[in-house]
Symmetry: C2
Subunit: 346 residues, 2 copies
């Protein structure tokens, strides 16, 4: 049986109110009593019940964080950033994994509300879920990350997916490719949709035709990436380069390339969204866009804290730029291209 505030009060010869005051750093307590209380707390090894405290003050110091896929390195990087920032502000993080499942997401959202968390940060599984509305109705501070929520207005921190995708595909085009495949996450999520849009933008800007056969979308996971890439490779006229929209898809695609007996990057070029910042350690020939995971997480917490202070400020939407890394080794040549050499520069 854990020690209660009453035990401490008795041990220190004061009232529970005084103990409470000391522990929450309130002023107006004489130094003598403060010392006595602290001593008692120490010898009794007292740890206040956060449950009781939360019930009393109707608000905990916990930030609920719901990510759509804990196995996606992009999100673990963001989680790290969020934890760091929350910790610096005396908040703890209650992390849950919705696993791209709207049902689980709703369940966890309800759980957070029932736990009276101080605020919620969420990477939404779908664009709209009735549960999001409850957040607003109950006036729980919330911010969406990475993906846009469409059915209710809440603060969000996003990445410029369109711009980054366009840069990536443009790079491939400038290397001389004209048949460029796309292996993307489902357009049902704003990220998938935006990256597809960037791909299309780049093709249009260079007057290249869009071939629906070259565009594949699905769940952003290894297995699906593998399947989609295999389909592309089995096409009568497969692409000479591929744009992948996510690190897990990239891994699946690489596997498909290998198991087809093809070699990367000699037989097929690739440019990818790399949500882990180490993909290129293993495949230096990849052209990747590194995502601003740390800023994303930090800003999410900061936005949340701001909203906790001023519940009525206007909704804010931050869009971060993603930085494309062109590596030496990514200046490959078009394999089997009409003739020799489409290499742009040295």
């Amino acid at each position: 049986m854990p020690t209660k505030i009453e035990d401490v009060a008795r041990r220190a010869g004061v009232s529970t109110a005084t103990v409470s005051r000391v522990l929450s750093g309130k002023p107006y307590v004489s130094d003598e009593l403060r010392q006595r209380v602290l001593g008692a707390v120490n010898t009794l090894n007292y740890r206040p019940s956060r449950v009781a405290r939360s019930l009393r003050v109707q608000r905990s110091s916990i930030i609920g964080l719901i990510v759509s896929d804990i196995q996606n390195p992009f999100f673990t990087a963001v989680v790290r950033a969020i934890e760091d920032t929350a910790y610096q502000n005396k908040f703890s993080v209650f992390l849950c994994n919705s696993d791209e499942d709207v049902g689980k997401e709703t369940m966890y959202l309800d759980l957070m509300l029932a736990e009276h968390v101080a605020g919620v940060i969420i990477s939404p599984t779908a664009g709209m879920n009735d549960a999001y509305r409850r957040l607003v109705e109950e006036r729980v501070p919330a911010v969406a990350i990475d993906r846009r929520i469409t059915n209710v207005a809440i603060d969000s921190v996003l990445v410029d997916n369109v711009g980054a995708a366009r840069q990536l595909v443009t790079h491939l085009i400038e290397q001389g490719h004209s048949r460029i495949g796309a292996v993307l996450g489902t357009p049902a999520s704003s990220t998938g949709e935006e990256r597809l849009r960037g791909y299309l933008d780049a093709l249009h800007a260079h007057g290249l035709p869009v071939e629906q056969d070259l565009i594949r979308t699905g769940m952003p996971r290894i297995l699906e990436g593998h399947a989609m890439m295999r389909e592309l490779l089995q096409l009568p006229k497969p692409p000479t380069a591929v744009f992948t929209g996510n690190a897990l898809l990239t891994i699946g695609a690489l596997r498909a390339i290998h198991s087809s007996g093809l070699r990367f990057p000699d037989d097929i070029a690739m440019a990818a969204f790399d949500e882990m910042d180490w993909m290129f350690f293993v495949k230096p020939a990849l052209t990747v866009v590194a995502q601003p995971t740390y800023d994303l997480g930090r800003l999410a917490v900061e936005l949340l804290l701001k909203r906790m202070d001023e519940p009525d400020r206007p909704i804010e939407e931050v869009v971060l730029a993603a930085h494309v890394h062109y590596r030496e080794s990514s200046k490959w040549r078009v394999p089997n291209a009409n003739g020799a050499n489409h290499q742009k520069e040295g």
Copy 2:
């Protein structure tokens, strides 16, 4: 302001006790009242406060999970398994990241105790931390995963690291290698120590000499793996094969190999602990041991539930076998066997 149980009671024309009974599925409530209550709950969109409930019953239905590195794919895989199993048993998971930091670990452990979680699953950062003792003192069900805790007896689910490491290194020896480097996690953790032991075992069993220069240990992370591997490659007489003890170390090592201008696996062979089950998609030439992440997580939860039911049962320690994958492409030959040194100048 969220609706309270009293509101529901009034709306349904019953007492709060009846509402409570209906909601917790207790028997002895007439069908008529049950319907009325359910109706009220529905129209009022009532969600019971878990905070108040936890305070009352002195126990939540949350399992606290503290992992030592959320960015390590091994742990995210285990987290998935734990969540699945917990969810099937009507528990939610409160996940925290100690980030290999004993201070943070202690903080989170205290937090879980203060939150009155139903139980704690932890991958310990260090072998001993006074905070572990508190778990036992307060009789909070707990189980350690992946690493052994030495200063207090608690249930644990471990992997047969010695056996797996021995198999991996033996494989390299059987391929003809005799100068085998080791890039391992710190022996301060039981995993690091055991994998080192397996390495030594294999060498001894084949009568090979142990060269301290070929053994490097450090934090199990990319940066450290890179540094250690570089040191090995800069040795006057570098190894012809390397055994790495962790997926992140492996990535770092691969990077060092690449940036030295060497090629894998032509210039140097490698066998690795691969905590992600997709490392070999990217590097099929690796020989890896796949870790039983799902079983590990599932068993951890099951052990926890058992201890919740019978607090006084004897401590249990489960050791899982890890399975080694020998792939076609890993049957390489010793590069330039007893011939020239393949070191390149950097």
